[in-house]
């Protein structure tokens, strides 16, 4: 049991050390979210810009919250 606990502790420490440093330094939010693929059609976190574009094009807004 003690060996298992030590092994788990070592594994956890390795995982923590492997985390990118920028996760700790308040870097830009976009770089923290690896699953974001920013294509030209997406407005990222800017409600005013999204609605400005909608008004200019006459098209509705699809607002994705994730």
């Amino acid at each position: 049991m003690k060996r298992v606990c030590i092994a788990r502790g070592v594994l956890l420490a390795l995982i923590v050390l492997a985390l990118p440093a920028y996760a700790q330094d308040g870097g830009d939010l976009r770089t923290l979210l690896k699953d974001v693929e920013l294509g030209q059609s997406w407005v990222y976190d800017d409600v005013d810009a999204a609605f400005a574009r909608a008004k200019a094009t006459g098209k509705p807004v699809l607002a994705l919250f994730r």
Binding site: L29, V43, D45, V47, P60, V61, L62, A63, L64, R66
Partner: protein, 340 residues
């Protein structure tokens, strides 16, 4: 297309949806009018995506475009879809969220959607205004007896016998068009109507059946029809008072001689970072058999709803637990966690 990854600075009088969703869409016109919503979750594991599909999203988008094409002529029927008044307009208006947003680190200062939902619960609870519908939010169509097809959210896949949907004459294969006068884009729109419906209110339903328009009325069961699985909702994790409980299995109930229909909730976990249960003297493995004078709280949902709907901040709740064959008394003090 707008991607929102944090709620900081978001006007909640414009953007209202099931804030516990891990993935949610609002369809809006250029003037901010809500056309519809997409995004439904029934639980954890497989149930976290069981009500979602690309085909369902595509169909929802198509219906949203149809609503847009008819706007503003259809403005009146969209009124019910628009956001309702909330106690606060921006997350930063909530003191405990405002403190979070002043943190220097990006991650730490991020306001998540579920934090807004939790704040609504806390705000109302601290004012003695908490209602059942504040805990059991956005009831699934299943709560009124309809299971919808996730490939086309407004198509009825099955109807539970004896349910309100069954009594309304709704059938498998029907395409729901409107409920309470609101055009439906997805299941999330059905949930929006149910979330805001008054108990006992009859809702007008329009549907297509084999090309014919049919009108009927959907009634609600009285009592706790809104209740369902809230384990997955991050906003309700605060409601677990330092412990997780689970209904005891039949075999264990028999062994402890607990009659059917009587409360038997086993404490499966006493949380390390939340000392509410520990301070009450509750231990892992205890079986809660009574809360005050109630011994009919059969599920964790019943237990949590009873605590938060009947006890306010600082009030003490007497618990009776079985431990080692003996009845032991514990006193739980109600407070929000984490404390400010």
């Amino acid at each position: 297309m707008l991607r929102v990854v944090r709620m900081n600075g978001l006007d909640l009088s414009r953007f209202q949806f099931d804030y516990d969703q891990t993935w949610a869409v609002l369809f809006l016109g250029p003037d901010g009018t809500v056309y519809g919503r997409y995004g439904t979750r029934a639980g954890g594991g497989e149930q976290s995506t069981s009500h979602l599909s690309l085909a369902g999203l595509k169909n929802a988008m198509r219906r949203a475009l149809a609503v847009h094409a008819s706007y503003p002529a259809n403005r009146d029927e969209l009124r019910g879809k628009q956001p309702h008044r909330l106690p606060f307009r921006y997350p930063e208006d909530v003191p405990w969220l405002a403190r979070r947003t002043r943190h220097g680190d990006v991650r730490q200062s991020c306001v998540h959607c579920h934090m807004v939902a939790a704040s609504l619960i806390r705000y109302r609870w601290e004012r003695g205004e908490l209602r059942e519908q504040d805990i059991f939010v956005y009831p699934l169509p299943e709560n009124v007896g309809m299971q919808m097809d996730p490939e086309d959210d407004v198509r009825v896949r099955s109807v539970r016998p004896g349910s309100p949907a069954h009594k309304a004459g709704i059938r498998s294969g029907d395409y729901l068009v409107r409920i309470a006068g609101q055009p439906l884009v997805s299941q999330a729109d059905i949930q929006w109507v149910l979330h805001h419906a008054r108990d006992g209110e009859e809702l007008e339903v329009e549907l297509y059946r084999e090309g014919d328009l049919v009108r009927t009325h959907l009634g609600h069961p009285h009592g706790h029809w809104r209740r369902g699985n809230i384990h997955w909702r991050a906003s309700t994790w605060h409601l677990r008072p330092g412990m997780r409980v689970e209904a005891l299995a039949e075999e264990q109930r028999r062994r402890l001689r607990i009659p059917p229909g009587k409360m038997a909730l086993e404490v499966r976990m006493v949380l390390r970072f939340d000392d509410r249960a520990r301070r009450a003297g509750v231990r892992r493995g205890d079986v809660i058999i009574r809360v005050a004078d109630r011994d009919d709280l059969l599920t964790e949902e019943d237990f949590l709803a009873y605590l938060w709907l009947h006890y306010g901040p600082g009030q003490q709740v007497p618990l009776t637990v079985l431990r080692g064959g003996r009845q032991v008394r514990a006193i739980l003090t109600m407070r929000w966690h984490p404390p400010d």
